[in-house]
Structure formats: structure tokens, C-alpha cells
Symmetry: C2
Subunit: 491 residues, 2 copies
């Protein structure tokens, strides 16, 4: 295996190589669309299952809505339509026919033109609220708490595996409520769910906040988000939760009868997270040797590799491995035993390092004598000789320690990359030299925000929810501001 | 709730009403596409999770491939292309723009025409084998055992909820092997997995067989299938497993180096099952009161309904219910306790009957006195007074009994609807009067098959795998035949 480009050399190249070499994903024969390979998909499945459990625990049910949005529904909520119109795949025909001029080739059949074009969903508010019209009549039908796991398509011009692809997998929650207050509570609750998932499972520390008007979801009254910090000092939005007000209820005429017998428009939220999270996971923890996966999401938390010179040794090592596997299984820990003969131990070590397996156990002839094994942590690359007696407990604890440690490592890095800045000069200097989140005052206008973006490529990632009131003056116009916001260059 | 149309009155109308009234699915604002509602989706999730477990146990891994197939890839395997070209959704543009003549309206931007049209996948052999070209170099890369859960689109002209929809959810397995023998073994193994799933979880007896050439999957060398019998005597194909030979390997140039150093084309299989299975589940077991669900797939296996005259009674019933719930939970059985005050017990009884909840437990004041509950089976509608002492065991066993009984009921019905027929007159008569599978001799030609189809609408559902050799003469041409095949009208 050729070595990875190092992060210091070229962070972006390191990422692209790692995604492919660790068998996570690759580009496909379709422009901008990726193939998620089995190992990458196994990580996504773990993420999906965990989030799904959290959504259900908070009272949500799954459903499935059509992939197509007829143009007339798509354009019903104007801001939403405007936001997505420029990047959507459009189905115009429903049949191919034989090309009369080239045998074996097909052409679009002009007689099979659709009366109304269909948009491949870039997001499902329109099709879902058109459905909710029939589901919501009375306050008794509310709240309606629905989630969908689906694929969506946004015709991005510049794509990167996981981070920005024309098609991606995601979940989108779409809820309807009787009051504004309830809808805002839901929006905030789901933001908390995302933050909790990111921190406890992905081991990624996040900052909760809300977006400025120009960064809001098209059609939202308020967009909440969680923002994470990658190792190159760039920010990555890891989940968004939108308070949609009554915009979609009005666009699709979704009214309900209140307890008092009045007719009112329903209040809406939507919230989403996608395979983009895979990008965040990779970029937060991994190193020049390959992936570093948090134990809570690793498809293979532990691998055992035999080191043997002959078949007899292999048989004996196999016996020890079986015991270890069964002990760990009884604790609910899955272990892979890699006894493939075609590959040498050194090759396997590199392979599992590349794939981010949190713990590697090697068993050799000396270990058999001493009743020990060698345990190596992927995150620190530390190795230790450990007695077989009590090994399952040791491994169980070590997995927890690793989960804890990589979160703390990412948090230390993140915290060291949040800098308070009070002048625009300092802002520009720090952005280039150090990157990270720059905590600064902003005058609250789209103009200042746009100028900073144009001149530095930094955007306001969020207005932190836990930000303190503080008198200050904004970076460019010097107007008074009461609160710092977080700027960063972002994925 | 208005009553369902009875099956005897209009089977087709009964089905359509049931799907909507039991909150399984409904038509959407997009022609031919359905919305799968939360209750219907919860059943599908159980089916999906169970099948997914079975696929993984047989060594398969999940992955994800693009939803779009560029036209040039789509047409590479000619038979496959020909089979699906007439019913596929085609993306021709990637952008909308404001309609200059109508404010707030959008039109397709003619400047955003794709250089090559994209087909929304009707099945994924083409895009997947185009990918496998890069994944398969050596015999060491084989077998490649991949499954995908995805949505697909086939532009059906006449659609029916679950049974035939323009978009549906499914899984598609795509495997590559070094030898023909291995590929055929895989095809047969996955047919067994489908049959096992249908019988043990869906409680649907199925006949395993293979298709005639004219009923084969486009691009397959052999199509195996499982066929089920609905209550109206029509057949429903509940899963297919295809041996694809080297057709796709040749179309996409997927060669590997054998152990002996030779270059050979890989051997392929694909196998699929879809949300169509929901239709089979509904039509096999349900009755004029509503759904009948097998306990192994019921989102709510048991519901408890309190029958009370005042709040005091409700509190006391609640205490008993809590105990029952916790006892059942400890056995892994999920119970819903429906204490909603807005609905009367009678209304709730009808609601859970409609939704096919296998066991209903009612607890009233007399039960409190006698330390009993009333247990009602959905399948037989039988009620029984049962002591609370030992109730969890009773319920656990009853769930198993119900699963067993509804399978046997369906099997008796199915077996009573397989009839040996030796003349075409008798064939036509029986088909009209009784329906079901007609086991008859066929001369092996597409001509006789087509004539029977045209004259009677019956098709050859399968050539059963366990069919015995028997001398006979075919229905129309009277030519000699060595084996009976199964004819039926089908969904």
C-alpha cells in the first residue's frame, strides 16, 4: 500500500486519498455522485441506526414520501423554490426508444414528454406539506412528528466525496404543531439531539447556534445548527434544525381547527443530517496513518491478528483467540479475527490502521508462553502487553477510554482554535495564519457579512446559543454590537 | 369509521380501501407514486430489518450506488436496456429558472441541458457492474457479495398501492463469482432466504420455481422466483433471484485473473424484493374487519385497552396494565397501552382490528375483581377470560400460536387452490370459476404460452423446483411434456 499524503503536506489531498484508500467511498460513473463502499456504508449504518433510535425515543415515526416533486408543488413556497431551483435534476420524459440511426443505442422518446416536469427532491418540504394538508384537520392531529430516511439530489458544480455530492443520503424530519412555541421547542430539541449524537457517538465537539438571515435554509424563519471544527481549522456544519413558521402551511393551505373551534395554519419545523457527517467524522479524528474511528461507531471495534511461523502455532493462537472472542462477545463487543494466510501481519497492521479499527490485538508465540497479548490503540498508536486473564474487561474499558480521549483531543483542538478578535486586520491575519473560529462583533447587517465573506472567504458560521452579552463594535463598520458571532472558513 | 367493502363484494376495492384506512399508504401528488404512512412504514421496517439480518448472516454487505444511470451505461447490456427502456424516468436538465412571463413560476432552463441524459434507476445492474469493473481484478476479489437498499423508478401506466407503483423501495443483491456453479448456488441460496423469510415471518407459504424464458428478468439466463397465492385466487410473485451468467461482465468488461493466471469474465447474480411484499402480506391474511398481521412483523403485537367508568377505575386498571407491560417487556414483547380518553373502547376495538394488532387485552372493573383480563385474538376474533397470574407466558405462547395458525390457514387455502388440469376446456373453466394455481402440461414453446395468456390472461407463474417428472401432453398443441408447470392469473 502506498503511503497517504500527509495532512501537513496537503490536507485536501490527504482527505481524498483517505476516503478512497480506506474503502469508504469513490466517485462513480455519474458526474458528482458517489458510490458508498461496504466499509463506509457500515459506518453510516451505525450512525443511522443510532440517530433513528434517538428520533424514535423523542416520539418521531418514520414514513416515506415520493422522490419526485411536480414543478407546481415545487414552486409553491417561493423562497424555498428560489433557493433550490438552480441546482435541481429535472425529469422531463418517461420513456426511451431505439435510436433509428444507431442499432443498439437508445434515445429519449419525444412522444413521452411529461405534461408537468418532475424535480428530483433536493429536500421534501413541498411534497410533504402537500400531503400534510390531508393529514391535519384538527388540533387532535397535532403534533405530527415524522422523519424520513432518503436520498436527495442537489446539482452541485464542485463535488467532493461525502462533503458535497450531487446525490446524498440523509434524514429529514418534518413536524407540524399547533403553536409557534411548540414548534420552536421542537426545533431546539432536535438541535440538542444532533449535538448529543455528534458528541457521544461521533466524538465531535460542536457549537450550537443559529444562522444569520443570509445563511438560513430557504423558506425558514430561523435555522439552528451545530458547527464542528476540522483539523485544518475549517468549520463544518454537522446538522441543521429549522423553524419554518407558517410558511409551508400557508403555501399548501394546511389549516386545523383549534380546541376553541377556530381555523389556524399549522407551525412547522424541519431538520436534517446527511452522509456529510461521514466527512466530519473522517476529518476530525484521522491522522497520517489513516482513519481513527470512535469505538461507538466502528464497524470493527477490535481486530485480532495472529503472528505465527507455522500451522501448529496458528492452531494454538486460534484457540486463545476463540476464548477472547467469546469473552468479548458476552460483553457485546464484536471482534474480527483475521487469520488470512495470503497477507503478512505487517500488511494487516497497516490495513487496520488505515481503516481506523480502534483496538488491535496481536497474539504471537511469546504471548502463548506468557499468557499475554499485545494490545495496540489506534488513536495513540500505543502498544501494551496485557495478560489474557481479565482481558475482556480491559478491552471494554479501553474502548470507553478511547471514545472519551478522542473527544477530548478534538475538543482541546477546537477550543484552541476559537479566538476572540476585535479588529479586521487581526481577523484577516489570524484567519490566514491559524484559521479556526474567530469570535468577533458584527453589526447585524447582510452588507458587512457579505463584505467579509468576499474579502476573506470567512462566513458567519453561527450566533452561538450560549454567547454572552458584551458591548463591542463591529469589524468593518465599527457599529455597536452586543454579542460576538463565530466566523470561519467552512466546508 | 365506515365499514370496509367486503372481499366477496369487490376484492380489489376491499384491498384499496384497507390500505388507506389502516394507515398503510396513500396516493401522492405525484402520478403513480405512493406515500408510505408511518404505520405501513413500521411494518416495512420490520421486514427490512429481518431480511437485512438474513442477508448479513449469509455473508452479504450493504453498499450504496447512484440513483442515476447515464444513458450510455444503461444501454450497454442490450436485453436489460430493452426490457426497461419503455418505462423509465429520464433526467434531461439540471436547473430551473424564473419564468419570464409568469412571476413566481419556474421553467426548465434550456441552457442547463445535460450532455448525456440520466435514467433514474429501474434496477442497478448497469451502474453496479460498471463499478465492479474496478473492484474485481483477481480471483481473490471474489465472491463479491453486495446488497443495496434503495428506491427505484419504473414508469408503470396502471398503478396500485404497494403492488405496482412508479417508485418503490426495495433491496437488490448483486454478486460476482469466479465460477458458473458458485453463481448458480448463490442464486438458489438467496431464493431459499426469500422463501424462508416469507414463510417464517410473513406467514406466507410460497412455491419455489423458475420462470419461462418469456417471463425472465431482462438480461438474466435464469430467473428463480417464489410465488404466493392471494385470497382471490390470484398469484403474486414475492421475490426473484436471477442467474445472470456472464452477460453483465461482458457488457462492462469485468474480467479477473484466475488462480491459474487466466483472464475470465465474472459470473453474476442479482436478487430483489420490494415494498410489493406489503401487498402480499395484506392480501394473504386480512379479512373484512381489516388487517391481520403475523405477530413476527406486527409493529404493535399486543394492545391493552382499559374499560372504565371513572378515573378511579382507570387508575387501578393502569396499575394492572403497568405490571402486564413490564412482564411482557421482560419477554421482549412490546405492548401498547391505549388510555386515550377521547375515544370509547368500542371505537378502539374497531381501530385495532382494522390495524391487525394480533392480540387485544381488555381490562374492566370485573377483571379487577377477578384478577383476570379479556384476551382477544385478531385472526380468529375469539375472546377468552385469562387470569393475570401467568399472563405473560400465555401471551408469549399465543403469539407463537397465531403466527403458526395464520401460516397454516394460508397454506390450506393455497393447497386447496392448486388443481391439476389436463384439458384446455377444463383449464378455462376452472380459471374462471375457482382461480388459483392450475398445474398443467405445457409444450415448452413461447407460442403456446402466449396463446394461453392472450385467451385466458393466465401466465406460467413458475416451473416448480420440486415438480415430479410425469408423462403428459400439453394443453393446446397436445405435444408431449415431462413436467407440469403452474399457471395462474397474477398481480
Amino acid at each position: 500500500m502506498a503511503k497517504l499524503t500527509s495532512r501537513a503536506e496537503d490536507y485536501s489531498k490527504w482527505y481524498n486519498e483517505l476516503v478512497v484508500k480506506a474503502d469508504l467511498a469513490e466517485n462513480s460513473g455519474v458526474r458528482g455522485c458517489m458510490v458508498i463502499k461496504p466499509y463506509g456504508y457500515a459506518i453510516w449504518e451505525k450512525m443511522r441506526d443510532e440517530m433513528d433510535r434517538m428520533f424514535k425515543e423523542t416520539g418521531h415515526q418514520n414514513a416515506y414520501f415520493p422522490i419526485f416533486v411536480p414543478k407546481s408543488l415545487f414552486e409553491a413556497e417561493e423562497k424555498n423554490a428560489e433557493g433550490f431551483a438552480k441546482e435541481c435534476a429535472v425529469v422531463t420524459h418517461y420513456r426511451l426508444k431505439n435510436d433509428p440511426h444507431h442499432a443498439g443505442k437508445l434515445i429519449v422518446d419525444p412522444e413521452a414528454k411529461l405534461e408537468e416536469e418532475l424535480i428530483v427532491r433536493p429536500t421534501s418540504e413541498a411534497i410533504i406539506w402537500n400531503t400534510y394538508k390531508n393529514w391535519i384537520q384538527s388540533y387532535r392531529d397535532l403534533p405530527l412528528l415524522i422523519n424520513q430516511w432518503a436520498n436527495v439530489v442537489r446539482w452541485e458544480m464542485r463535488t467532493r466525496l461525502f462533503l458535497r455530492t450531487a446525490e446524498f443520503l440523509w434524514q429529514e424530519g418534518h413536524t407540524a404543531h399547533a403553536t409557534e412555541k411548540e414548534a420552536i421547542e421542537e426545533t431546539e430539541k432536535m438541535l440538542d439531539v444532533y449535538a448529543d449524537f455528534a458528541e457521544r457517538f461521533m466524538a465531535i465537539p460542536v457549537i450550537k447556534g443559529y444562522k444569520t438571515e443570509s445563511e438560513r435554509f430557504a423558506g425558514a424563519e430561523e435555522t439552528y445548527c451545530i458547527e464542528a471544527m476540522m483539523q485544518d481549522g475549517k468549520a463544518l456544519q454537522a446538522g441543521t434544525s429549522h423553524f419554518l413558521g407558517q410558511n409551508f402551511a400557508k403555501a399548501f393551505d394546511v389549516k386545523f381547527t383549534t380546541k376553541e373551534g377556530k381555523q389556524e395554519f399549522a407551525w412547522a419545523t424541519s431538520w436534517g443530517s446527511s452522509t456529510r457527517l461521514m466527512g466530519a467524522l473522517i476529518m476530525t479524528h484521522s491522522d497520517d496513518h489513516g482513519l481513527v474511528l470512535p469505538p461507538n461507531l466502528a464497524p470493527i471495534p477490535v481486530v485480532i491478528i495472529p503472528i505465527h511461523k507455522n500451522d501448529e502455532q496458528l492452531t494454538e493462537i486460534g484457540r486463545v483467540a476463540d476464548e477472547v472472542i467469546s469473552d468479548l462477545k458476552s460483553k457485546g463487543i464484536y471482534v474480527k479475527y483475521d487469520q488470512r494466510n495470503e497477507y503478512k501481519p505487517g500488511w494487516k497492521f497497516a490495513e487496520y490502521e488505515l481503516k481506523g479499527v480502534p483496538i488491535r490485538i496481536a497474539i504471537g508465540p511469546k504471548d502463548l508462553e506468557n499468557k499475554t497479548v499485545e494490545v495496540a490503540r489506534r488513536d495513540t498508536m500505543n502498544k501494551q502487553i496485557v495478560p489474557i486473564e481479565g482481558l475482556a474487561d480491559y478491552i471494554g474499558n479501553l474502548l470507553k477510554t478511547i471514545q472519551h480521549d478522542i473527544f477530548n483531543k478534538a475538543k482541546s483542538f477546537r477550543d484552541a482554535h476559537i479566538t476572540k478578535v476585535d479588529t479586521y486586520e487581526e481577523f484577516k491575519l489570524l484567519l490566514e495564519e491559524k484559521g479556526g473560529f474567530l469570535s468577533a462583533h458584527w453589526d447585524g447587517t447582510a452588507e458587512e457579512e457579505a463584505q467579509i465573506k468576499e474579502e476573506t472567504k470567512a462566513t458567519i458560521r453561527c450566533i452561538p446559543l450560549d454567547g454572552e452579552e458584551e458591548e463591542g463594535s463591529s469589524l468593518i463598520t465599527g457599529k455597536p454590537s452586543k454579542r460576538r458571532v463565530l466566523f470561519a472558513k467552512a466546508y
